[in-house]
Amino acid sequence: MKTSAQSPGNTHGVHIHGQPLLEMPLDLYIPPDALEIVLETFQGPLDLLLYLIRKHNLDVLDIPMAQLTQQYMVYIEIMQRNRLELAAEYLLMAAVLIEIKSRMLLPRLSKLVDAEEDDPRVELMRRLLEYEQMKLAAQKLNELPQAGRDFELIQVLIERVEAQRLPDVTVEDLRQAWLALLARAKLNTHHRVRREELSVREQMTRVLRQLRHGEFEAFENLFEASGGIAPLVVTFIAILELAKETLVEITQTETMGNIYVRASHSLTAE
């Protein structure tokens, strides 16, 4: 595993900004700034207690409560004197320590009870060990290489070179659009939506398309004979409709002569 900036060498001592904190004079003058940094570095009363225990080489299984409590109180006092924002947890822990200490002064009432179970320090010991375990786990976790911090991820560009993808449309979309129009048209009652044969419209378009060249086209050429009678009728109606809308011109030079059709205006744009 890769080592990181966090000192992995001595994982048990208290580290302040990566440096093991070996000296913490208890009764001597401490530069207030340094102390502030130190105190802010503690993660809470358990962290401070652990520091004191490890620093003074105390036995976690047999904590000398008087000594520990006294040292803890020194820190609390310094914190208060420096008007550091003192979390309530620190004061609560002070109370816990004093309580344990006082209970240990009391004579054991029952000799039947197992000494260890009766030890008022057991719960504190359990908490200290559990916290220390997690504190060390956090250090190790932090030493694991992290994406973005200790290694980069590969990401090669995908360049979308093809034409922009066009929307898909289904018949249903078209139907919905039409329905929306009708719904709106219904609100504007003055607007008339005529019932009409779509096939006629289709034939109108077909005929117009055929006449796009602008020249006269023989009338009969506009019909597709292959489809049977119905399409012929529809085409005929379509041509009449086009004439009515003055979209086509129908001419006949002589009676019974050939009928010619052409678009009213050839498309100059085409």
Binding site: I154, V156, V161, A180, L198, L247
Partner: protein, 196 residues
């Protein structure tokens, strides 16, 4: 791509020793991880010892060469050098990132519906039915898509163009003829009743 790197004369100054294999490896990784093209100036920062431009360029060309035939290519672009996936890999990559196709706006769809059901129609007809102006952009969108075209002009003042739908539209909708569109009768009956 490792192992094929040849030793290049990295500098005219013989006292500066640069590990060409190592530098090419670093250039490759930097280019693979970069989110933007890397300029020569940036790439030069990767070398422990000063390197001249043409040395770096030669290395980049060699690197590009090594990737020839793979699905990835090293390109020189305006801002520098960068890797990209070859365009022909796109169909495969699209399987992983299915992009949702964009949708046409309501205005576009309604215009298309009017042209489909009322063809041939002028822009004025469409505006009358929709009750709002139809922007040129909408008609252009549909024309570019090949779904509508101009089939004539109406013999009225201004000679407005008549729009109709194309066979392309039918193909794209998987229809054989306009008659296969949802019938208008159904629509009108909906209108007569009180649903919607």
């Amino acid at each position: 791509m490792l192992g094929q790197a040849t030793v290049l004369p990295l500098s005219e100054n013989p006292t500066v020793q640069i590990d060409a294999v190592q530098l090419e490896k670093i250039l490759e990784v930097a280019l693979l991880t970069a989110s933007e093209p890397l300029s020569l100036a940036e790439l030069k920062k990767l070398s422990d010892a000063p390197v001249e431009n043409h040395i770096i360029e030669k290395m980049l060309e060699q690197l590009a060469q090594e990737y020839t035939g793979s699905g990835v290519e090293l390109n020189r672009v305006a801002n520098g050098w960068r890797f990209r996936a070859c365009p022909e890999m796109q169909p495969y990559l699209d399987r992983l990132n299915p992009q949702k196709p964009p949708r046409y706006s309501r205005a576009v769809m309604e215009t298309l519906a009017i042209i489909a059901y009322r063809q041939p129609v002028t822009r004025g007809d469409i505006e009358e039915i929709r009750g709002v102006a139809v922007s040129s952009q909408i008609l252009k969108t549909l024309e570019t898509r090949g779904w509508i075209d101009v089939v004539g002009t109406r013999d009225t003042p201004g000679k407005p163009e008549l729009f109709a739908t194309t066979k392309q539209l039918l193909d794209d909708l998987n229809l054989r003829s306009l008659q296969e569109l949802p019938p208008l009768e159904e629509m009108s009956s909906l209108l007569e009743h009180d649903e919607i």
